[in-house]
């Protein structure tokens, strides 16, 4: 890398246009929203610039705090489930033969390249009362009923009741796990891949079993990747909007939806801005934790 002084003209020509675009169409909008977050709302949704914290105070009122808390809770459960599914997958890929590795990785990334909306919509088709899952269950139910009739048992199965799988928190969690799995798998895979396999061999050689090796050697050594992946899945889930909007019901509104509502039906932009900045601050804190953990782990090496 050169100092910018070495070639000021080239630096200016390269850096100014993209910087100008990002400042004008990203930083300035954020600043305006930040100003709005301290503003007051008029009766018709007008905005009067001011400096008061009423919007932030409102955000931590019981009813809104409940939604924020729910968002954190849903994000935490999503992260836990994603990790439970993602870690074995990351390990499976990391220890796969070289020629399989890229194919398996591609299989993990591929859904990530398909439209988020379509992937979420696909779950509607799977989970709804007349969806593939209920249909599969009904089919099994029929077969079981026919079987019990065949061997002369009374009709113990009863009428098939479709499960209510959609428009609730469970559906939201399923959708989030589905969407953010690659974000968790990839960092974990990256650290497992770089991990010197002779550490694991040394552990096995010294008499530890596979499970002992997993918990005493593999996981501690892969911890930076695990933390990074989990925090990523967590912030992404927490700031989500589309998944609860499509798969969730009245009980599963998250911060993202609350913010969206302020900018649409409620027309309370100052409050929406304040909520938006609360979400941003939470995101920044987690990103900062993630960065400082990553920094600390690199130091001793």
């Amino acid at each position: 890398m050169d100092s910018w002084r070495k070639n000021k003209l080239a630096f200016a020509v390269l850096a100014l246009p993209p910087t100008a675009w990002l400042v004008l169409f990203f930083t300035v909008p954020l600043l305006i929203m930040w100003l709005y977050s301290f503003a007051e709302r008029g009766p018709q949704g007008q905005i009067y610039l001011a400096v008061n914290f009423a919007n932030y105070v409102r955000a931590i009122e019981w009813i809104h705090l409940g939604i924020i808390w729910k968002s954190i809770w849903i994000a935490a459960i999503t992260t836990a489930i994603t990790f439970a599914i993602g870690f074995p997958l990351a390990m499976g890929i990391a220890f796969a033969p070289a020629r399989w590795k890229n194919i398996l990785l591609l299989l993990v990334i591929l859904p990530f390249w398909t439209n988020l909306l379509i992937r979420t919509y696909a779950w509607i088709a799977v989970l709804r009362t007349r969806g593939f899952l209920n249909f599969g269950l009904e089919w099994m139910h029929e077969k079981l009923s026919a079987f019990s009739a065949l061997i002369g048992l009374p009709d113990v199965m009863g009428e098939f009741q479709a499960l209510e799988l959609l428009y609730n928190q469970k559906a939201v969690v399923i959708g989030l796990v589905y969407v953010y799995l690659p974000f968790l798998v990839l960092p974990i895979y990256a650290t497992l891949e770089k991990l010197d396999k002779s550490y694991l061999e040394a552990s096995l050689d010294l008499g530890a079993g596979h499970w002992r090796t997993l918990f005493s050697v593999t996981i501690p050594l892969a911890l930076p990747g695990i933390i990074s992946g989990c925090l990523l899945a967590f912030i992404l889930s927490m700031g989500t909007f589309l998944t609860p909007a499509l798969l969730g019901g009245t009980d599963s509104e998250m911060i993202g939806n609350l913010i969206a509502r302020q900018f649409s039906s409620s027309r309370d932009w100052p409050f929406g801005s304040a909520l938006s900045f609360l979400l941003l601050y939470m995101t920044f804190i987690i990103l900062w934790v993630r960065a400082s953990l990553a920094g600390r782990r690199e130091e001793p090496i």
Partner: protein, 268 residues
């Protein structure tokens, strides 16, 4: 106990690992594959398999609104890709090449669009366009898409340039070329696969984006994902499946092209 001939660390060969991976991939692919499969199903009810048909594709293709939405998406993606690839390349190159004051905060600022929740950026854009009195429409969508695509392109370019041997440029100067000749003859050819990959990424991001598009769109600027959103909110129809399949195939094709270009440039 079954004796297998694997090494102790071949975890992927263990049956439990294979089953767990198989289930995970089933989880990852079942929804999409069933969606695609049922777009060919000759049944309105969309549940049981009634035979192969293309009539929902015909229906989707005949749907004028879908048509228009698709065209809008392509216009937005086309312009956004062109502008963000150029600006993102410049950004990536300047971050790769130069040390400058306040670099840390600057990098944080320019990478922010990648990390902030989409909904936050979406509503900020809405607030911004309202403040400057700009009517929402294809222009506002495009402007926002360019803003969030620039850092993604920059990251791809920077990753590509990380493998660049600076002595190639020095060799070029040493052999008598000036800065401009060196850039076009040496730096640019090396960077090109990164630019193509970045452009394809920007294109897919623009085509796929829902949240920011949804908020920055106005009347008459319906894009493909927004149209689909309005169609899927309350019903699942084979026609939506067909339209979705078209989009999936399109983005997958672009991804495959990007991967092929990348692997080819790595082979060099």
């Amino acid at each position: 106990m079954v004796r297998d001939r694997s090494n102790p660390l071949d975890y992927t060969r263990k049956t439990w690992m294979r089953m767990s991976m198989g289930l995970t991939f089933l989880f990852l692919y079942f929804p999409i594959v069933s969606l695609i499969a049922f777009s060919f199903n000759n049944s309105k009810r969309n549940i049981t398999w009634q035979g192969f048909t293309l009539r929902y594709y015909e229906k989707a293709f005949d749907n004028a609104q879908l048509h228009e939405a698709f065209l809008n998406s392509l216009i937005v993606a086309g312009i956004s890709t062109t502008v963000s690839t150029i600006l993102g390349t410049m950004l990536g190159l300047s971050l790769h090449r130069f040390r400058f004051p306040a670099q840390g905060p600057y990098e944080g600022m320019v990478h922010l669009p990648i990390v902030i929740p989409e909904i936050c950026m979406a509503v900020a854009m809405v607030a911004f366009f309202a403040t400057i009195n700009m009517p929402l429409g294809l222009t506002t969508i495009t402007v926002s898409h360019i803003a969030f695509s620039i850092p993604f392109v920059a990251v791809v370019i920077r990753a590509r340039m990380a493998g660049f041997d600076r002595s190639l440029e020095e060799a070029s100067y040493d052999l008598g070329a000036n800065q401009w000749q060196t850039f076009w003859n040496v730096t640019f050819p090396y960077m090109k696969p990164g630019m193509i990959a970045g452009a394809l990424l920007a294109f897919t991001l623009s085509l796929d984006d829902f949240v920011i598009t949804f908020f920055t769109s106005g009347p008459g600027s319906t894009t493909f994902p927004i149209k689909i959103y309005s169609m899927v909110r309350f019903s699942v129809t084979p026609e939506v499946n067909a339209a979705s399949t078209v989009l999936i195939v399109l983005t997958l094709a672009l991804t495959v092209i990007a991967l092929v270009i990348q692997s080819r440039s790595q082979a060099k």
